[in-house]
């Protein structure tokens, strides 16, 4: 049986609220569509101890976990682009030089992960249990042109749902709820997400998965 397992190198705890669930759900849709021989998609497991800035720490942690994953997902926010590209290049170079053979797939939203939270307005309405959004935030492919998605999320929680975005509990549960509800088709309209989707297909092809 083909069973897919992944670990996630991420920036901070708030990424854990959103990315593991969203990426697992996306992978489920991806393999159903492209690789029907795959029979199982396991949880995306974050590795906080790997950090995401220092290749040595990351590779050491991954070596300790060797055997538990088929693919490494490496997340870094896309902003500012110059820094992000520099870090990503450094990580890729070090990873290639290591003896880790599993594919490394980058998960890099154009600016911040929070942009992806905004992509599906239906999921936002559902997560906040509203009838409708009085003020439409950016959505679909436009989310990547949003200069500060965190500010938009704060306003959404405060103005539409009467929640205090400074309270970590409410923010965390909002992220989780959107991760469980966001339509993957909507997210695929976002170029950076579609880029991850394409890279993931390529990685699975490299692992020997056959298109159905």
């Amino acid at each position: 049986m083909w069973s897919l397992s992944r670990v996630l190198i991420r920036e901070g705890p708030s990424d854990d609220w959103f990315l593991p669930i969203l990426l697992r759900r996306a992978l489920e849709e991806l393999v159903v569509e492209f690789f029907p021989a795959c029979r199982e998609v396991q949880e995306v497991r974050p590795l906080p101890e790997a950090g995401n800035q220092h290749p040595e720490t990351m590779i050491k942690t991954l070596k300790e976990e060797r055997g538990t994953f088929d693919v490494v997902l490496y997340h870094h926010d896309g902003a500012p682009p110059a820094k992000s590209q520099l870090v990503l290049g450094r990580i890729r170079q070090a990873y290639s030089a290591s003896d880790l053979g599993e594919p490394l797939v980058a998960v890099v939203p154009m600016r911040e992960t929070e942009a992806w939270l905004l992509a599906d307005r239906t999921a936002l309405v559902r997560a906040l249990n509203l009838r409708r959004l009085n003020r439409e935030p950016v959505s679909g492919s436009e989310v990547e042109s949003c200069p500060d998605p965190k500010v938009v999320i704060d306003a959404l929680l405060r103005d539409e749902a009467g929640l205090n975005p400074k309270k970590k509990g409410a923010l965390r549960n909002f992220y989780l709820s959107v991760a469980e509800n966001a339509g993957i088709a909507e997210l695929r309209k976002v170029p950076a997400f579609q880029q991850w989707w394409n890279d993931m297909i390529e990685a699975l092809e490299g692992l020997g998965y056959q298109h159905g």
Partner: protein
């Protein structure tokens, strides 16, 4: 003693298998399937010994709801179980190992109402693999109230004896989901001998254990041990009495502390009563299946309780070789959310549950998976295990109270 369970199609299980040592703690987050394993064990053991109707009433959920739900909302129509058992040595016969396979279907039997029916079952000797006690396959062999194991034909006296002993083992599976109201209640004189899964009827159960195990020099039998352990685990208590009241026709528990005697169960702490019920179950013979012993129990006492439970169970080689005067055969399975488990229980006695996604004809369904813990510097992948072992990184998050994947 039950040494392995396989489950497919029941609640959150798809092709699930778990080896059961004499002592095992199932850990994991909420909704990972820990309680479902206990339900599965209770369901199949009760179906074997008391029939399907009784089995449904013993577990959470209605009859159709016990069948696994797929991601698209439909339910499977079959549930398959296998139990492997070690039957201890007896005077005339050595120990033997057996495997009971049974398949249930959701069906409408001719002239009957819809419901769960047993489609097929068989018993296979694992000690001599050629020996099979089969049943006719492909027809409805057992209906409603009849115990599944009674359907095995008694053509051979030896086969009948094996079925009787397996029934006895399964009758002694006792699951505990303790409830405060039940723990405090009195028993009726002449009422049930055993407590139910909520611990209702605890006073009579203790009286029964005392009578069953008493000897000339130990008039209270194992209840003497239970008293000693309760005092050791719950320092506020120095003793308890089982009071039989002929006038009220009931049986009650009265506790004593160094400063107070005659304390009714109604005034005892939840933790004390929970500890007593768990100790009672652990001192009986058979398989005790105990949910979340940490509720209402101080962590250090949970540590001591789990340590004690390990000492009370019968090791497999002991069960296989012990002679005619063997003590009660005991097995203990716990579920827990508590990180204390990781400090006090050896890794080989822990199983970790969480969820995974299986894909069936393009439909994604969430099902339970179980993994063993990686030993120090041990391999991650082990032959015969479907998933990699749980690493220290994952355990660190469990220990810190961080749910995966958050």
């Amino acid at each position: 003693m039950i040494t392995r369970i396989e489950i497919d199609g029941f609640k959150s299980f798809e092709n699930f298998a778990l080896d059961l040592p004499p002592f095992l703690v199932l850990i994991g987050t909420n909704a990972s399937g820990k309680s479902n394993i206990l339900d599965a064990l209770t369901f199949v053991a009760t179906a074997g010994t008391r029939g399907v109707d009784a089995a449904v009433s013993e577990v959470r959920g209605d009859a159709r709801g016990l069948f696994r739900k797929r991601g698209d909302g439909t339910r499977v129509d079959r549930m398959r179980f296998a139990l492997e058992l070690l039957l201890p040595a007896q005077r005339s016969s050595p120990s033997s190992r057996w495997r009971w396979e049974v398949r249930f279907a959701w069906a409408v039997p001719e002239g009957g109402l819809e419901g769960i029916t047993i489609e097929t079952q068989r018993l296979v000797s694992l000690s001599s693999p050629d020996r099979v006690i089969p049943l006719v396959e492909g027809e409805w062999v057992v209906r409603e109230g009849r115990p599944a194991l009674d359907a095995f034909s008694g053509n051979h006296k030896q086969d009948g004896e094996i079925v009787r002993r397996i029934k006895l083992e399964l009758t002694e599976v006792r699951s505990l989901h303790l409830e405060a109201g039940s723990l405090r209640g009195a028993s009726e004189l002449g009422g049930p001998r055993r407590m139910d899964s909520t611990a209702r009827n605890l006073p009579n159960y203790l009286r029964f254990l005392a009578r069953e195990t008493a000897s000339e020099n130990r008039p209270l039998g194992v209840v003497g041990e239970i008293k000693m352990h309760l005092v050791g685990l719950v320092r506020e208590i120095s003793d308890f009495e089982i009071v039989e009241d002929e006038r009220r026709r009931d049986v009650r528990l009265e506790f004593a502390s160094p400063y107070d005697r005659g304390l009714d169960a109604e005034f005892a702490s939840d933790g004390t009563l929970r500890m007593l019920a768990i100790l009672a179950a652990l001192h009986d013979g058979g398989t005790a299946v105990i949910e979340e012993p940490e509720n209402g129990v101080f962590p250090e006492r949970l540590r001591q309780l789990l340590g004690l439970a390990r000492e009370l169970v019968t090791e497999e080689d002991e069960a296989a070789t012990s002679g005619p005067d063997r003590p009660l055969q005991r097995q203990a399975l716990f579920t827990s959310h508590s990180p204390v488990v990781l400090d006090v229980v050896p890794r080989e006695n822990i199983a970790f549950l969480d969820m995974t996604t299986v894909l069936e004809d393009g439909i994604a369904s969430r099902v339970s998976r179980v993994r063993r813990l990686r030993e120090d510097a041990g391999p991650v992948r082990v032959d015969g295990e479907r998933w990699p072992r749980v690493t220290d990184s994952e355990l660190g998050r469990f220990r810190a109270g961080v749910e995966e994947p958050v």
